[in-house]
Amino acid sequence: MTETEIGRARRRKEDARLITGRTQWTDNIQVPGLLHVAYLRSPLAHARITRVDVSAARSRPGVVAAFSGQDFAAEQGSLPCAWPVSDDVVIPDHPPMAVDTVRYAGEAVACVIATDRYKAADALDAIEIDYDPLPAVTDMPSALADGSPLVHEAGNKAFTWTFAQGDIEAAFRDAPVVVERTYVQQRLIPTAMEPRAVVAQTDGDSFTLHTSTQIPHVLRVMLAATTGVPEHKLRVIAPDVGGGFGSKLQVTAEEVLGLLIARRLGRPVKWTESRSEGNQTVHHGRDQIQRIALAASAEGVLRGVKVDLLADMGAYLMLVTPGVPLLGAFMYTGIYKMDAYDFACTGVFTTKMPTDAYRGAGRPEATYAIERAMDELAKEIGVDPLEIRRRNWIRHEEFPYATAAGLTYDSGNYEAATERAMALFGYDKLRAEQADRRDRNDPVQLGIGVSTYTEMCGLAPSRVLGSLRYGAGGWEHATVRMLPTGKVEVVTGTSPHGQGHETAWSQIVADALGVPFEDVGVLHGDTASAPRGMDTYGSRSLVVGGIAVLQACERVKEKARTVAAHLLECAPDDLEFTDGAFKVRGTGAAKTIQEVALAVFAAHDLPEGFEPQLDAGSTFDPESFSFPHGTHLCAVEVDTETGMTTIRSYVAVDDVGNVVNPMIVEGQVHGGIAQGIAQALFEEAVYDADGNLLTGTMADYLVPSAADLPTFVTDRTVTPATSNPLGVKGVGEAGTIASTPAVVNAVVDALRPYGVRDVPMPCSPERVWRAIQGGVA
């Protein structure tokens, strides 16, 4: 048997075009007669629109048309929310272009369509618009207070959602130790490097939409429902997409309006956002206030966890806005055992950009709260943060384990990952150095941060999604076709935007069908060539979509086996399949799968009733989530005189089960860690009290550069998932989920001698310095 493809660090097939500039970004698309759209956006967070006059813009040079919200009012519908989480959820009407009221700064209020992008932007000046300002409300406690300005008539409460298991009152009654903390998850801007872009075309009957999206399939369904363009007349294409991180898991105003404008003008139109436009109007992430309480024994053994969450929805509920905190609800128990768990969440409207999925979506928030609180418990009990975790974590022999949050973790080995991480990190030595620096009153203090995380990903079992009232399923589809020349074409419903599916799926197919890696091609991201799919988010592509690819291969192989048996004049059971060939056991007779493919194409001599094609499809609906886990350790140096934090070392040992391509996995972990560190130390979307976004450009919203980050030390332990035949777990979000608490725990750990027990994120020098001055936060 030759070396398996699965497990090899194959260099990526995708790279050839990406490193030579032959990539197909949406903004690259040129078609004859292409027009450019520019949107006028509200400068106010909350206002009534009293008058819009676009007529002067229409007479500007190069301008073909100009429209206000009123012009679309009859046909634009409402942007969809696919996750009505509760009975009491309020889903306000969300017109793609505001008609009479704006509710966040940046909402589109009018547009110009011109012959080039400069002319379109120029003519925005000529639009006359009057507003009657209304009061803004930008923070959740104010929004819930009596007498708050109302974002929507129905009130500022979007929904309430609760979960309870076990007797939480008993857990807290007479508990020897109770730790209660409040943490703020600041608002973040996802900042995929490719700004969004949309090209809409029509031949008068059918429509083609190119868009920088993670979800061409979901989008097609949603756009058909929103715009009335029949689904079969709408083709959605996600060409090369420059990152998403959840921000392109959306049905956007500009996608709907692009279709409507193309329909109205009968001409192709393009819109490409500027980064400043995107900072205002790509959905934001996080923005929650978490109250968490732990009840524990005198030895620090957990009895129960209680969580009360406020989640800022922004001004509207977009595609999965209210579902994001629910994805966190099941993770506040982390890797720990306890008798009872209680969770309550209130979704709150404010006059800000809506929030929605951002890398990890709910799970980073939950992991942050529990991992921060466990450190506080360790401090309370007077033991090392790793010791408190050992006293509480699920031991490897206890899997599968049903958690207090109602999930069943299939597998894991927290001990092994922690042991490996400690060794790579030099844990004991760093603790000794820390003690020494504390003794010496060194102005530069050392902090050590621990994060032993798990998460639920591989979204998702359709039945579970249904029970949570999500509007769709969580399956994934793949079709595998043997071509006459023996090459293989894979059609996947996943929609990559940097993850390397062409490479990884080729590895899976190469092993399953015994064909060369090079002989596999992968089609994706176009509803015409890949009509069925649920797309890419929630670390689902491999654990759901990859399994569909594997199962489709198995079906192709079984079909081929029938033909091979016929050609070799034996029973199918007499054949063994190795190295891409069906061999008659005990004889030298064999047919390669390529020979079978050619024979099927020719169809001269096939078994009775065999249809001459060697294709198979598979739609995989997972039984369960996947639960990657790991131990991340971070050492920071904090200059107590300036408040400056520098990461000295960062070790991540993740367990994502079996891996298909370790190079890609490592890359995902690196990028994830960087994004989590960005939340811990650098990034925050800031609105002023009037609802103006103060971090509207890349100059104000600080995405870290290479100079801001260290080299990460990464390793893996391997505890295969038992919930899928490859034994794989998702990896796309793990790094982000793990790293934020590791870094903040380190910062706080450095400052313990100063009485500091919290530093709000991002832990900027100013905030660290203030925490030192103020002692207990």
């Binding site: 490193i19 995929a192 420059g242 995902q668 690196h670």
Partner: protein
């Protein structure tokens, strides 16, 4: 309208341009050289980096008229008759890209860095690429790729 003459990836173009036209839009919209993308509007991201007369510039902060008489090399002009530039190879080998949106600018900026400093340390690379943002990779593999690219560039001048 001013008339400019610019060489881009070895081809000479003579075009009339509005004085305000950005070099990056000239490349993308006028010449169809779409290998160089745009990532921001405040000169922060570096996605648009090209070589102008041998030095890296952010083509979103250069007017097309300023490139008059100049020689522009974009990521599309690096491969020599199908043979990838060593830095392109290094980015591929070290998995220094995921979505690839930052990659054209990152590769050009790295070449410029190595032209000025043939054997940069990790710190020099991190600081030298401060003006180029990547949201996907966490930079570890980019640093590795630049070291390897530098090595290859030294070996095959």
């Amino acid at each position: 309208m001013p008339r400019i003459t610019v060489t881009v990836d070895g081809t000479k173009y003579e075009e009339e341009v509005e004085p305000r036209l950005l070099l990056v839009h000239f490349l993308r919209d006028r010449l169809g050289r779409t290998g160089t993308p745009v990532g921001c509007d405040t000169t922060n991201c570096g996605a648009c980096t090209v070589l102008l007369d041998g030095l890296s510039v952010k083509s979103c902060s250069v007017l097309a008229v300023q490139a008059d008489g100049g020689d522009v090399v974009t990521v599309q002009g690096l491969a020599d008759g199908g043979e990838l530039h060593p830095m392109q190879r290094a980015f591929h080998e070290e998995h220094a890209l995921q979505c690839g949106y930052c990659t054209p600018g990152m590769i050009i900026a790295s070449i410029d860095l190595v032209n000025g400093n043939p054997d940069p340390t990790e710190t020099e690379i991190r600081e030298g690429l401060e003006g180029n943002l990547c949201r996907c990779t966490g930079y570890c593999n980019i640093v590795r790729a630049v070291r390897r690219g530098a090595e290859l560039m030294r070996a095959e001048p």
